[in-house]
């Protein structure tokens, strides 16, 4: 397969990743056919991984490595999670290839997971850390949506700050049945614990207003 990232984009990504602080690991799950975007997703992880010596990419098979899949709650392919420097899963998950505009939420998650401060005010951090109940935040996106990476970024950042929050990007076209189940016809669509919905790229406070009432 030809390179997914051309020389110019690779150069920009390499520069963007250069301030990374700690090592991170990406664990990507695929399965044998039929899985349309599995080869491209693995290739993208490997191409981005090659642009920083702080990124390790581990490839897993959904069925053969079912224990690992269970550990990270992986049921779809292609999916991947990001682990911190101590190989701890902080609830940062992507379902579907982060191409198009979504390359931005992918790169942002790498930088944040490497331990760089993403500038949330202390009061917001406190509110996130106080969330006690288990929370799952699904963010449905399309790759042509410029507003979506911001919503994914918010969900992932909250996950990184709290052991009880998981944030997952779901590429709506790849996982059409799931999108249909959650009646997604506009993005970003944010679904919290499968019940509560937010429409559009909302500020973190809007997420917290719901999480604190759970």
């Amino acid at each position: 397969m030809p390179q997914l990232l051309n020389a110019d984009i690779s150069k920009q990504i390499k520069e963007f990743l250069s301030p990374m602080k700690d090592n991170i690991t990406i664990v990507v799950f695929t399965k044998d056919e039929p899985c349309e975007t599995c080869p491209e997703t693995v290739q993208l992880m490997e191409e981005v991984g090659a642009l920083s010596d702080k990124i390790t990419v581990v490839k897993k098979d959904l069925e053969k490595d079912s224990d690992d899949a269970k550990l990270y709650g992986i049921t779809l392919t292609p999916s991947f999670v990001m682990l911190d420097k101590d190989n701890v899963y902080k609830g940062v998950k992507f379902n579907g290839i982060p191409a198009g505009h979504e390359i931005n939420s992918f790169l942002s998650a790498i930088m944040d997971m490497s331990g760089l401060d993403f500038g949330f005010p202390e009061a917001i951090k406190d509110r996130i850390r106080k969330i006690g109940k288990d929370v799952n935040i699904k963010v449905f996106v399309t790759l042509s949506c410029p507003h979506c990476p911001g919503a994914v970024q918010n969900a992932h950042r909250m996950a990184m700050l709290s052991d009880s929050i998981e944030g997952e990007m779901i590429e709506a076209q790849t996982f059409y049945d799931l999108s249909d189940k959650y009646q997604v016809s506009g993005v970003p669509k944010i679904v919290i614990n499968d019940v509560h919905e937010l429409v559009g790229n909302q500020p973190v406070e809007a997420y917290l207003d719901i999480l604190e009432r759970l």
Binding site: I13, I97, A99, I103, L143, Q183, S185
Partner: protein, 332 residues
């Protein structure tokens, strides 16, 4: 094959090293980026706060900007940013301004990381957001058929019946963007087309397009999802329903002027009123682009207003200096 729409970033720390900006731009769309270019070239200590691109990122392609017969919206904003980057102007892309005040002749812009940035002059170039129809059902069926972003949501309407509300260039372009996806496209607009003739010529090649002019949308109807709209045909004075799975609302923008509503004079719809030099009712505070009361919302007009604002801010600071106020501007 997949494409990658990498957002532009700049060194966020460079911004924090500037104690006082001569010219601080809030908003990084066409108006803000061009203003920063002009201000920096004049030698003003310039900074920009805002995510790059503005409404250009919602635009599939641009074909009415002189010198660019056809260019993608994202590519155009990337080019604007790359041009500005040659001048080392710090752009704080990941922050939003939460408040703007004026204390002792200096503007204080507080950002969402809790920091306060100081500036002698400020440009508001915060653009606009999608205008809503304001009819029953619009909020209920938002993201359940109602959409304000064709590029984002068109894929959900493959082989479905969709409506485009509006009669300007954005609506005409939305129709063209929906052609690869929708089974049928119906335009509903309350008056006559205002879109460019060149776009309407392209519509003639679309076989599954129906146009209802002089037709007002009264409500968006549905059950769990949207199922259609009720409209008033003004010419026949009759009410009818149009079945559809989705509606793309492209009826212009509302100004993003909340930040300064208590500070400057605005018109009835919240657009910032400026003089011919883009200055607002507050000395040293300028506005440019879709946030102003300039009636024609066009990229090239926003860009030009940005340039005017920067040059006027430069002149303003020179006069301030002559009058004895402290300023660090260097004229080249």
């Amino acid at each position: 094959m997949f494409g990658f729409e990498l957002d532009k970033h700049s060194d966020q720390h460079a911004f924090d090293t500037v104690p006082v900006f001569d010219f601080l731009v809030i908003g990084a769309g066409p108006a803000g980026l061009n203003a920063a270019l002009y201000a920096s070239r004049k030698g003003m200590v310039t900074g920009v706060i805002g995510s790059v691109g503005g409404q250009l990122h919602n635009t599939t392609s641009v074909d009415n900007y002189l010198g660019f017969p056809l260019i993608g919206g994202k590519e155009m904003s990337d080019r604007f940013f790359d041009h500005l980057s040659t001048l080392d102007v710090p752009v704080l892309t990941d922050r939003k301004v939460t408040s703007l005040t004026r204390v002792d002749g200096l503007f204080l812009a507080k950002t969402d990381d809790g920091k306060t940035r100081k500036a002698k002059t400020v440009l508001i170039a915060t653009g606009g957001s999608s205008r809503t129809l304001g009819v029953p059902g619009e909020e209920t069926y938002r993201n359940k058929g109602v959409s304000y972003c064709t590029t984002c949501d068109a894929p959900f309407f493959k082989d479905k019946d969709v409506i485009v509300a509006g009669g300007g260039n954005s609506a005409a372009e939305a129709v063209i963007d929906l052609v690869p996806w929708a089974k049928t496209i119906t335009v509903v607009h309350r008056s006559q087309w205002r879109a460019d003739g060149i776009l309407l010529e392209k519509h003639k090649e679309i076989p599954n397009l129906t146009v209802h002019l002089q037709t007002q949308i009264l409500s968006i109807d549905g059950k769990e999802k949207m199922t259609g709209v009720t409209v008033l045909d003004r010419r026949a004075n009759s009410v009818m329903t149009i079945k559809a799975d989705g509606i793309f609302i492209e009826i212009g923008t509302v100004p993003n002027s909340t930040l300064v509503r208590d500070l400057v004079e605005t018109d009835l719809v919240g657009q910032i009123i400026t003089d011919k030099n883009q200055m607002t009712s507050v000395p040293g505070l300028f506005a440019a682009g879709d946030v102003t009361d300039q009636p024609h919302k066009q990229i090239i007009i926003s860009v030009a207003e940005g340039a005017k604002a920067a040059l006027a801010a430069h002149t303003y600071l020179i006069h301030q200096t002559k009058e004895g106020h402290h300023a660090t501007t260097v004229e080249r």
